[in-house]
């Protein structure tokens, strides 16, 4: 009986608003973060960092961004990869074309802001167009982004196909030289991504439990009623586009900088948008933690499958068979999840937690 809330009484409104009202949750989270920061970089191999943790953090950021827009504010978007593309290219160009003092976190924030503004532009039609009709605007963003960066090679610094992102972009205030650490190592990239993602997730969480978050959800649930009770609907939608695209932009930049280490257009094709949409659906629309659950599942699912193909069946099946079966299972998983629990993994987890709270005496 480690998991309880019995005996914890709420005595003030501030306490009631805490992120982790249950002490166990708080300690578990703290422990988890300590583990992620101080243990993981030392025990995880390059493979785990480069091929699992870093991509999950990068994808998670973009998924969180989409969730803010689609899950929280109810504006369906298929342009996620397009916005990621903007973010990644802007970051690269800021780093490339600025003086010495520019550093990656600052460039990420700047690029995110510009991407957010672009998001507002493509979000403008949402004032008049609603529901599925809005898909067309985000699709336009998706294809426009690809076309734009393909057609104007200036943004790729006139390179062929891809640019390898140089290691010196990672150095922060000369830390690397001063302390003789490799700032471009996977450990450093992991910690940088983890820091950024944690900060962004915390920001999103705060935003969601404040007035802005309630405005987002009000607009999602019923925008006429929202406007009648005095919520600035248009401003709220635009803000949602801005914040969402900011996150997607940063996610895209992390995807290239921390994960792939190269910048190219192909990275951001339409499929990526779908992939991130699945992450959000499976994780749970409207849940911040859910964005990460979904990311982990969607990212790891095919890998787990091919891993199983390798080790359990010792390569008895063709990779094609394994991959196709994975796809079929994946489709069934999405449909089954929607039938059983439209709230996604986050809702499943919440139900489980609820049961756990009262365990072993459910009544």
């Amino acid at each position: 009986m480690i998991y309880r809330e019995t005996g914890t009484f709420i005595t003030s409104y501030i306490e009631d608003r805490k992120l982790f009202p249950i002490p166990f949750d708080k300690w578990a989270m703290a422990l988890f973060m300590l583990f992620m920061v101080f243990v993981i970089p030392f025990i995880a191999s390059d493979y785990w960092l480069a091929a699992h943790l870093i991509p999950i953090l990068a994808y998670g950021t973009a998924a969180l961004g989409l969730n803010l827009l689609t899950g929280m504010t109810g504006q369906l978007s298929l342009g996620t990869a397009g916005f990621m593309c903007f973010g990644a290219f802007f970051t690269f160009n800021i780093m490339l074309r600025s003086p010495e003092w520019m550093n990656l976190p600052l460039a990420l924030m700047l690029a995110g802001t510009v991407t957010g503004v672009i998001g507002i532009i493509f979000g403008l039609p949402s004032i008049r167009i609603k529901g599925f009709y809005l898909l067309v605007s985000t699709l336009a963003a998706q294809y426009f982004a690809l076309w734009f960066f393909r057609s104007y090679p200036y943004f790729l610094n006139y390179a062929t196909a891809t640019v390898t992102l140089p290691d010196h972009h990672f150095d922060l205030f000369g830390i690397g030289e001063t302390f003789d650490v490799d700032m471009a190592s996977f450990e450093a990239k992991y910690l940088l991504s983890l820091g950024i993602v944690t900060a962004l997730a915390l920001f999103a969480k705060n935003l969601m439990r404040s007035a802005t978050g309630r405005n987002f959800m009000a607009v999602r649930d019923m925008d006429i009623a929202a406007s009648v009770i005095g919520i600035p609907v248009i401003r709220t939608k635009m803000l949602a586009f801005f914040v969402s695209c900011f996150y997607c932009g940063v996610g895209g930049a992390l995807f290239c900088y921390a994960y792939l280490q190269v910048l190219g257009i192909r990275t951001f094709e339409m499929n990526r948008s779908f992939e991130i949409l699945f992450m959000v659906i499976i994780g749970g629309l409207g849940s911040i933690a859910g964005s990460f659950y979904g990311t982990i599942l969607v990212y790891e699912f095919p890998i787990l499958f091919s891993w199983a193909g390798d080790y359990i069946f010792k390569g008895a099946f063709d990779t094609a068979v394994v991959d196709n079966v994975a796809k079929i299972m994946y489709g069934i998983l999405i449909i089954a999840l929607l039938i059983r629990e439209p709230g996604g993994l986050a809702a499943l987890w919440a139900t489980a937690k609820q049961k756990l709270r009262t365990w072993p005496f459910p009544h």
């Binding site: 076309w147 062929t160 359990i312």
Partner: protein, 449 residues
């Protein structure tokens, strides 16, 4: 619930421990196989990796592997997807305790994504017949190899062939050549060079983009119909190729004047176009069909015994499969070159040196049974491409096969060197690369760059 998670966790950990790889036997070398057998580009993947696997298997059977070391490999499905490819790379860097000797994903996206990483890990990234053209400069990109031809060779050879068709390069003057390219950085890469070539040979050129994926080309071919070029050079990829042939023919363009590039020359590109493709010509580094004795040997010792990697036997001798066999020959030759210097148990950095010192001349190719399939390839520190020559094939619809249409034609290496150098300089400036000095024998021969 919590308990469940713990149990699952423990179970998984146990499973991992139980299935943990046994230590590999001595006398084996490991080569990763980042295949793609599903998705839109699966034809390429199954053919190419099928060819490689068949050649490796043959070598294991007949020669006990390479230099006395048995070749082992494992597959990882990339879907031709950059992100999955990178995951595969990290996963396959090591297998059963043996490090990978090199990594050949047959994908521009994956290979270019790994150029820097490969250098860090001292693992050579191989991109047969494609990739970042500046990668030719081995002093700047020591761990990146593109054996065969590069984009610029490809288009200078095509121009030379058009010259042959017109009865001499001087007859190119006043002709009009249109480049119909896939709307990607891959496609765009040839635009500038096509204009340069036409400038040199006094022809006029224009470039028309087909947006990805290329299954709607009405407006492009309407443009072509208006501008009436003498030749259209097709720089396509996947479904864009058959659609270009069909749409072109439907718009009344003579198919014999449509010349395909190196990624527009597969059976899978022409067969869907049906009779429209009859007489279509395309460049190739590795003629299709059973053109070399090594292929006959594979058929005899593998396929006739019910082995072999291709499910569909009719694809033996097809373009991608032959390319795979060609790649297999190059791979193992590099390993052998390295073994000759460093002994049989080579590491990846030593194999890199092997790739840099290939010398596949006709004599050696004949010895390997690959003459007629593989072009002559001689690499060095400054040239990681090495081949720079290709042939042409013509599709015969009635017999559903390609016929060889030309002899080996050399690329215009001088014209392309300037662009390649400029791009390499750009990479040096922006990617934080310190090039080595290829004229310094010490630096040149140091395998661990």
């Amino acid at each position: 619930m919590k308990t469940k998670i713990w149990i699952t966790g423990i179970a998984m950990a146990t499973a991992m421990a139980v299935t943990a790889p046994p230590v590999m036997a001595e006398g084996e070398v490991y080569i990763p196989m980042p295949v793609y057998r599903v998705g839109p580009y699966a034809t390429g993947g199954t053919g190419y990796f099928g060819g490689i696997i068949d050649y490796y298997t043959l070598m294991n059977m007949t020669e006990g592997g390479v230099g006395g070391m048995k070749i082992i490999w494992n597959e990882c499905e990339t879907n031709y997807n950059d992100q999955k490819g990178v995951e595969c790379y990290h996963r396959q860097k090591e297998f059963q305790g043996k490090p990978a000797l090199f990594f050949d994903p047959l994908s521009v996206g994956i290979s270019t994504s790994l150029v820097a990483q490969g250098r860090k890990d001292k693992i050579a990234i191989i991109a047969v017949n494609h990739g970042r053209t500046e990668g030719q400069r081995g002093d700047v990109f020591p761990y990146y190899f593109m054996p065969g031809i590069n984009t610029y060779d490809e288009h200078s050879i095509i121009t030379a062939y058009i010259g042959q068709l017109e009865g001499g390069m001087e007859n190119l003057a006043g002709k009009k050549i249109t480049l119909l390219f896939h709307g990607s950085t891959y496609g765009r890469e040839a635009v500038e060079f096509t204009h340069m070539l036409c400038e040199k040979h006094n022809c006029s050129s224009e470039a028309i983009e087909v947006p990805h994926p290329g299954n709607e080309q009405t407006s492009q071919w309407l443009k072509i119909r208006r501008s009436k070029p003498d030749y259209v050079v097709l720089r396509g990829w996947g479904v864009m190729n058959p659609v270009a042939m069909q749409t072109g023919v439907r718009m009344g363009f003579p198919i014999s004047n449509l010349i395909g590039n190196i990624w527009s020359n597969d059976d899978g590109d022409v067969k869907p176009a049906g009779s429209s493709a009859n007489g279509y010509q395309a460049i190739t580094t590795h003629p299709t069909g059973r053109v070399a004795s090594v292929i006959d040997e594979i058929v005899e010792k593998l396929y006739d015994q019910g082995m072999g990697d291709l499910e569909d036997k009719s694809r033996i001798g097809s373009n991608y499969w032959n390319l795979g066999v060609m790649a297999g020959v190059i791979h193992l030759e590099a390993v052998r070159v390295a073994q000759a210097r460093f002994g049989p148990d080579v590491n990846s950095a030593q194999v890199r040196w092997g790739f840099e010192n290939l010398n596949l001349d006709t004599a050696r190719l004949t010895e390997l049974g690959a003459n007629g399939l593989v072009p002559e390839i001689k690499t060095n520190c400054m040239d990681h491409v090495g081949g720079h020559q290709a042939k042409f094939m013509r599709w015969v619809y009635a017999e559903t096969k390609w016929e060889v249409a030309s002899d080996w034609i050399d690329g215009d290496v001088e014209l392309s060197q300037a662009i390649i150098d400029a791009k390499a300089e750009n990479a040096v400036a922006n990617e934080g690369i310190t090039p080595r000095d290829c004229n310094d024998p010490a630096q040149r021969d140091d395998f661990e760059v």
